[in-house]
Amino acid sequence: MDRHSTLLLKTLARWGGVGLALIVLAAAVEPKPRAQRSTPVAILVNPATRVSNLSLAELREIMLGNRQFWPDHQPIVLLLRAPVAPERTAVLHIIYQMSEAEFRQYWIAKIFRDETATAPKVVYSASMASELVVAIPGSIAFLEADEVQPGPKVLTIDGKKPGEKGYPLQ
């Protein structure tokens, strides 16, 4: 074993154990996820969008901004409810698996890594979300299912409609 390797192992042994122990401790006491919601969250898209079903993984890719185009190359416009809306909280928990702070940091980083030129748009009410998703080509939004108004196309997720057994955004 050469001198560099010896030095490497000694340094690793000195500090690695401390860091690992701290992380294991934190993971052990991490609060458990919350119970499921009673009102499902519906995913709405512009009626001209040629997509009727998404898997939860595909929806996550879209919400994360990793998929930025529909299959016909139409840019996806992401509409998000403003903070405190219950469906936003649900989407952060189920799809993003992030806290509000993590979510903000995620999008700041996303834009300034030059991975996308535009951030999601924030909408302030259910009616505004429904109107905008009809008006903006390629847009996608989410609402509590009982607030959906006529006009937008409601997607099935993993082949399930909102409220059906096994619907993932419950």
Binding site: H4, L8, R14, G19, V29, I108, F112, L132
Partner: protein, 393 residues
């Protein structure tokens, strides 16, 4: 450094009739990032569309303090001035502005400009300047000055230090370092590899000027040896494990007398990465092998560098604390003529960093680190305490 170019660009950008999102009457506003006001709901009819060009400006800054017992051997800092010996310093770090502009639904421009405190004042640098056309998720093409996309850290974290967990970058990719070409000027194609399904295989392929006269810099104003560097990166980000990323890169260049190095050498850089992008935990590990081959005569040298960083956002105290640990290792053969010129050789390193990040505001963090490192077994061990406050506005 390209001070004059950067000043001109900045003036042009600021003089341009920009439409900041916070000032538009769009019906929906972008995700409110730091410093941006939110437009009232329903300000205009919802049929209004995106305005072009649009411009989003974000600022980053950091202020640092360091105390070391061997300042001349300081680890992981690309900026500042310290005399040799025991030292303690306050350092202004970098002031950085990011400009992200949408020119049309599929064309965008991005720029990153930094002001760095030095011994003789501030240096202004255009760190990134990129125009990009997004045809689809499978094909995006861009031109400009990038952070070379052959290592995860280099493209995930930039000059705004608030974005990264630790105070400094790993030394193998620190700004101003010569081990890896941190910047790249040229063309880049990127996207999802079609047909890879839930594996989500991404590619990046680029061609550019390669290293400049100073091998720490790219050829900003042209190619100094008329031999283009190229790179290829492939990584998977599976849909079923979307916070994981695994992949690797290849970078090829030719360097020689024009780079201030005696002789002509081929340079191959192979890298590998394994990353978990969450916060509970955050895990980043990367490896690079840099091979220099003397052209026209026998002679090959391989240098290795790697690091592994792990962090965890603690669930207590409003999840504001995030301890982290990183081990770094760089081994450079003392006979490598590219990294060991007669003066100022690229040093080896074995070192640990243990620290904690405290997010005292959603947009500002305080980071505290202890570092313990050594350049070689026969060199003294270096100990240091580093503190940084980094913010985004």
């Amino acid at each position: 450094m390209i001070r004059s170019v950067s000043c001109s660009l900045l003036l042009c950008v600021l003089a341009y009739p920009v439409r900041l999102r916070a000032q538009t009457a769009a019906p929906a506003t972008a995700v409110p990032v730091a410093g941006q006001a939110s437009a009232p709901a329903g300000a205009v009819p919802p049929t209004d569309q995106e305005h072009y060009p649009s411009l989003n400006i974000q600022g980053f800054a950091d202020i640092d303090y360091s105390a070391q017992d061997q300042a001349a051997e300081r680890v992981g800092t690309a900026t500042g001035f310290t005399p040799p010996g025991v030292s303690s310093n306050f350092n202004l770090g970098q002031f950085v502005l990011h400009f992200a502009g949408a020119l049309s639904p599929k064309v965008s421009y991005f720029a990153e400009v930094s002001w760095t405190a030095g011994a003789n004042g501030f240096t202004t640098t255009v760190e990134r300047s990129i125009i990009r056309y997004d045809y689809s998720d499978n094909f995006k093409i861009s031109a400009g000055r990038y952070h070379t996309p052959i290592l995860y850290w280099n493209t995930a974290y930039h000059h705004g230090l608030w974005l990264q967990t630790s105070i400094n970058r790993p030394e193998m990719i620190q700004f101003g370092g010569r081990l890896i070409p941190v910047h790249f000027v040229g063309l880049l194609a990127q996207g999802l590899v079609p047909g890879t399904g839930s594996l989500n295989l991404h590619y990046e392929a680029g061609i550019g000027n390669g290293r400049g006269a100073d091998i720490a810099e790219p050829g900003n104003a042209g190619d100094i040896n008329n031999n283009k560097a190229w790179l290829a990166t492939i990584y998977a980000q599976p849909a079923w494990a979307y916070k994981w990323q695994a992949g690797g890169s290849v970078y090829r260049d030719k360097i020689g007398p024009a780079n201030g190095i005696a002789g002509n050498y081929g340079e191959w850089i192979d890298t590998a990465r394994l990353v978990y992008t969450g916060e509970k935990p955050e895990f980043i590990s990367e490896f690079a092998n840099i091979k220099h081959t003397l052209l026209g005569a026998p002679g090959t040298w391989n240098s290795q560098a790697w690091y592994a960083q792990i962090a965890y956002r603690l669930p207590w105290l409003q999840a504001k604390w995030k301890p982290y640990y990183r081990f770094e290792y760089i081994h450079i053969p003392i006979t490598d003529p590219v990294f060991n010129p007669p003066t100022n050789p690229v040093p080896s390193l074995a070192g640990s960093i243990a620290g904690v990040r405290y997010d005292f505001s959603p947009y500002a963090a305080l980071k505290m680190e202890y570092r313990d490192s050594r350049r070689a077994p026969n060199k003294p061990r270096i100990h240091g305490i580093f503190v940084q406050t980094a913010l985004v506005f």
